[in-house]
Symmetry: C2
């Protein structure tokens, strides 16, 4: 433990949380400085409404559409290189199943306590993964994106960073299943920091659904950290450690105070800000945004999507009896506007153009 | 002829054109004042990439997406009310064919010298038209929009204006087939000006592919006028008058000088600014933007669309062999950026969010 980590550890124990994290990290994008600015538009997996997610095609599109940040989910290869995939199991987003030479790598593993069957990035070298081609993950919902199937490689995190730097946008990497990758000797944090440091990345957020790895990163980077929070469930490192605490505890004032000792913001399911009732319609907002801001935590929400199927019921538009109703563009503009009115600091958007348009209109 | 029209007529004959029009009209959005500002985003038929065109649903979406102007094409009903439809023949955009009570109204007419078969707005009262429902015009290209089929009425121009005023955006009406509507005693200009004057509309452009009606309007309104110019062909009023002059003549310096005597800008096919070769790929730009600006004419281009099928060949992306290639989102961001670099003052966009995003990004 370095002196810096020791200091951080002592301070976060002794002092009231929120302020400490900000003082220690001095991130230009941290809450205090951001308040009052336009919310950031995060290109979710690139521009996944228009391109197969987590491809350079998708990231390039997001940049052209005005995303402030592009967002890669990160998993490790056998030779310990970070690549951008939603999950380490890649049968849904690549053509791996059509490669006879890899047929024997199909297997079943336990990831975060759940059995998963398919092909896993950690069983392939980067060179092997580069022989695969990406495909649209949800072709039923986004059939037009299949026009890009087979055209793009799996990008490395380094390639995503280089693209972002070349265009002056930020990166917003998520470490996926850090406890799991630790357990197989392919820890995500070291190669993550290596790339960020090597390219001197200044405009970035690092996000995770777990807590232990964010605490570890807190001692090793000044970049802002975002604690991801789902609607139900608990961080897997808490589960693995036998804790009974959940994300519900994390969003209470005490939980947020603790988050503020190591993170600069929270990245939450929109239902944490605006819950929905049994019919899927929105109800009165929670106090989470104000509670988080009181702890000097930014609030980013996921995921703002155009399609009716992905919107709260009261923001859907069109004829529910139509077979294409789920894919039709609902009132995503109204939905994002409402979230912005509630004070969020950023939104993960599958269609960054729509996100940028709403933000631009509101600040016009 | 009023004194004001007489004065305008004399001035436009005697003096050099461009300046006269600006002096006479004193429009805040005219060229001289606009130069250097961000180009305007015109919601083409609303947000026709996301909703059936020319419906209040489509206009509402365009406004929410940040369009500066919403654009209705205007035709007349039997009782001389202006309604928003792409054409007076309405079988492609409404369910009229499914109404047995109107079966006997199906007919063939000659419009602008061409035979057209179907149902025509001028054969219906507004009350009758209001019993119809709109549907997506190009369901093969925009299948998701069919989720809105049957949900919207044909809106009147007055309804479109009220919507625009309620949201602080402009309107950009096009008079369709003015010579034809004059010939059947349903002149478009009077009801157009009546609505614009009655609601004291200040933020508007009036556009037409013909010239005589723009000259007539020049004497009757201070709102800026836009001469529409196709890639081939000629204004129908010129054709009807036996002239051999064409739009090719209109974009030459002398032609532009003449346009500037009665209009404030031109609305041109993008190929007038960036021609395409036999393969559909873009070639070197013309001098039209500079030529028009020299005459103090704004340049608005149509139509910027997301889909590969609607983009120049070198801005298409994806696998041409894919059955959904025509519908996939191409490099519309790059295409609009190129047009903006060439100095255009506005763009008609089927997806105003994409247009707003590109404009916002460029001015960031």
């Amino acid at each position: 433990m370095t002196m810096r980590r020791l200091l951080a550890s002592v301070l976060s124990t002794v002092l009231v949380g929120g302020t400490v994290a900000v003082v220690l990290t001095q991130t230009p994008s941290a809450t205090a400085e951001r308040r009052g600015q336009a919310p950031i538009v995060i290109g979710h997996r690139g521009a996944s409404a228009h391109r197969p997610e987590h491809t350079l095609l998708s990231y390039e599109a997001a940049i052209a559409m005005g995303a402030d940040y592009i967002e890669p989910d990160l998993v490790a290869t056998k030779d310990h290189v970070l690549v951008a995939r939603h999950e380490n199991e890649i049968s849904g987003t690549t053509d791996v199943a059509a490669h006879p030479e890899f047929a024997d790598r199909r297997t079943t593993k336990t990831v975060d306590g759940r059995p998963v069957t398919g092909w896993f990035t950690e069983d392939f070298t980067l060179a092997e993964l580069k022989t695969l081609r990406a495909k649209e993950r949800v072709p039923d919902l986004r059939p037009d994106n299949t026009a890009f199937d087979g055209l793009a490689e799996i990008p490395t995190f380094e390639e995503v960073v280089k693209l972002a730097l070349a265009h002056g946008v930020g990166v917003y990497p998520e470490t996926k299943h850090p406890t799991y990758f630790d357990s197989i000797g392919l820890s995500l944090e070291e190669p993550l920091l290596d790339v960020l440091n090597r390219y001197r990345v200044r405009k970035a957020y690092i996000q995770s659904f777990e807590t232990a790895n964010l605490r570890e990163l807190r001692g090793r980077t000044r970049l802002p950290l975002i604690q991801l929070i789902t609607y139900g469930g608990a961080p897997y490192d808490w589960v693995a450690a036998g804790s009974t605490r959940t994300y519900d505890d994390m969003v209470r004032p005490d939980g947020l105070r603790e988050v503020a000792t190591y993170a600069n913001g929270i990245g939450v399911d929109t239902r944490r800000v605006v819950p929905v009732d049994a019919s899927g319609a929105t109800t009165a907002p929670t106090t989470l945004v104000a509670d988080a801001h009181r702890r000097r935590l930014d609030v980013h929400v996921w995921t703002v999507r155009n399609e009716n199927a992905q919107l709260p019921a009261d923001y859907r538009l069109g004829d529910p009896a139509s077979p294409v109703f789920p894919r039709a563009t609902g009132n995503v503009m109204g939905w994002l506007s409402r979230l912005i009115e509630l004070g969020i600091d950023g939104a993960f958007c599958d269609d960054p153009a729509m996100g940028r348009a709403v933000v631009a209109k509101r600040s016009a």
